[in-house]
Symmetry: C2
Subunit: 329 residues, 2 copies
């Protein structure tokens, strides 16, 4: 893929499905509403500090691009976003993160306890809503995905050792953690279409998700706090070996490698040690390599779209690929 | 219900379904097996330190007592146990418990991170296995229950204030937290039977679950460490207002009530303060009242069984009621 000269804004690619997206917040509120003040308070907070609705966007665009009508599109889009929200709440609890995109996390604002239970609540609401749809196919897809996501998280935990983690393992993790839900959103959008289009959109979502996550991991090395909404080098601080480091390691000298190992052995690494390892990764080509991998996945996502007829929605899905790899946050 | 003079042992009431129960561990292993060393390690640990399989016991006995054949009984029993395990793992993480029945918890032995993700993993495996059954009814029942359970946990968190918590709210919490899964296990066991038996066993499970949980909460006031497997007074230490305290409060003098409030305001209450409040609860009749409530629920559970024909399994379900309220741990 040749990166576009002009930046794609999220709002641009969301335009073809703007009316549907506008209804997602109310649909989410309907699904999570509960007769419990604390639940209302926490879910109200979560829904107010709402994200970009990127997964619902993909679902609606896939639906439009596949040419099939789906009377449950809104419901499915909200369920997909809800599963995403549930995993964010547990991820922040697992990582003890205090901020997400500049906003306090549930564990920071309420408590660790509330965040564990809230994640369970949101997830079980999503499942309950899926069951109420009386169609086992979305349930099959999403129950598989949620299981994949928890396996990805566990693999990531198990891999808190820079030197051992391979690119192959990294890919397994980000596919499970991120690409699986992207892929499911796209496939669900096309669930009423023929098998070819459905397969194409599933493959598109998978490749897009990989490109998106690699870019995310890159931004952790290249972005500053104001840009990414989280401190640069956070993955290193948390001893998460992502692609930039994995790719850089083979090119490091023995003493440079020891510096990396020392950082991973340090419970709370000093800023200068983090900065030094970021410098090593940059000089050893870890950023370029990761960027190439992201673009390669982006290219595969674009190629998958060729199975679909030309449409405004297909153009927007193409723009989503550019957005995934060119965004600065 | 007139409590029996002789104690009922769990092994006695499990006898009619012994062969089925013996197959649950392997079925659990089949469902949770994963291509990940850490997942295998944690789930292996959980399955080895296996509990009493009380919920599978109820499911199998209900199945036998309802007179209906269920080709998926084993699978459902393992799924119900798996959901129970998933909630235990998250409960221990939420409570920061180090021990459960004398064994280290997952959060203590591995980490808080591992326990959050492990709970998600077990729960999503249970859902995936339910979806694979291709029958939406068990899914409907259990997705409702898991949602209830998380709501119960959240209500309990919200109610960390002794003075405000009413018996009615307490009953809502324990019904959601405990009785809902008991009731689902019994109903699922009878899912191939006619509506009357099914309804009877659902009601039986609900009443049994309430009796079981009230007894559990009583044991926290009356049991010693060696007996309950957890330190006596733990609920008080964690500022959980359960029935013994709720029932005792109205009878306390103003100064006694202030002692309770002081304990609930203390982050780590001293042993003597816990002992003092336990003494107040005892003298104010909180234990007798709770015991009466447990026996009243036990009576309702027994009465529900009258809808079923006489059988060895029905006798065992009756024994389960005695076990629930007479056990010492």
């Amino acid at each position: 893929m040749a990166p576009q000269a002009t930046a794609v804004r999220l709002a641009d690619l969301q335009r073809p499905v703007g009316p549907q997206l506008a209804r997602v917040p109310d649909e989410l509120r309907r699904i999570v509403s509960a007769d419990s003040p604390l639940l209302e308070k926490v879910s109200g907070y979560l829904l107010r500090s709402q994200g970009k609705l990127f997964r619902p966007t993909l679902l609606f665009l896939s639906n439009q691009a596949s040419g099939a009508v789906d009377e449950h599109g809104l419901r499915l889009a909200a369920i997909v976003e809800l599963i995403h929200l549930a995993t964010l709440v547990h991820d922040d609890s697992v990582d003890h993160s205090a901020l997400r995109r500049g906003q306090p996390t549930v564990n920071a604002l309420f408590s660790h306890q509330v965040s564990v239970i809230m994640g369970d609540y949101l997830f079980s609401r999503a499942i309950r809503e899926l069951v109420a749809m009386d169609d086992v196919e979305p349930l099959r897809i999403l129950s598989h995905v949620t299981n994949e996501m928890s396996m990805g998280e566990m693999r990531q935990l198990a891999a808190y050792d820079a030197v051992q983690f391979t690119e192959e393992e990294y890919t397994v993790v980000i596919r499970a953690k991120t690409a699986s839900l992207f892929s499911a959103a796209c496939e669900l959008g096309a669930r009423r279409a023929d098998a070819t289009r459905r397969r194409a959109l599933r493959a598109y979502g998978d490749a897009l998700g990989l490109a998106f996550q690699i870019t995310d991991d890159l931004l952790d090395y290249t972005g500053g706090e104001a840009v990414t909404g989280k401190p640069s080098g956070l993955d290193l601080r948390e001893h998460k070996a992502t692609l930039p480091l994995i790719a850089a390691l083979p090119g490091l000298s023995a003493s440079e490698r020891r510096a990396v190992e020392a950082l991973f052995a340090e419970k709370e690494p000093a800023d200068e040690d983090v900065a030094r390892v970021i410098g090593l990764v940059r000089r050893s080509g870890g950023l370029e390599y990761s960027r190439e991998r992201a673009l390669e996945c982006a290219g595969r996502a674009e190629a998958a779209l060729e199975e679909l007829p030309s449409s405004q929605a297909r153009d927007a899905l193409r723009d989503a690929v550019v957005y995934a790899v060119e965004r600065r946050r």
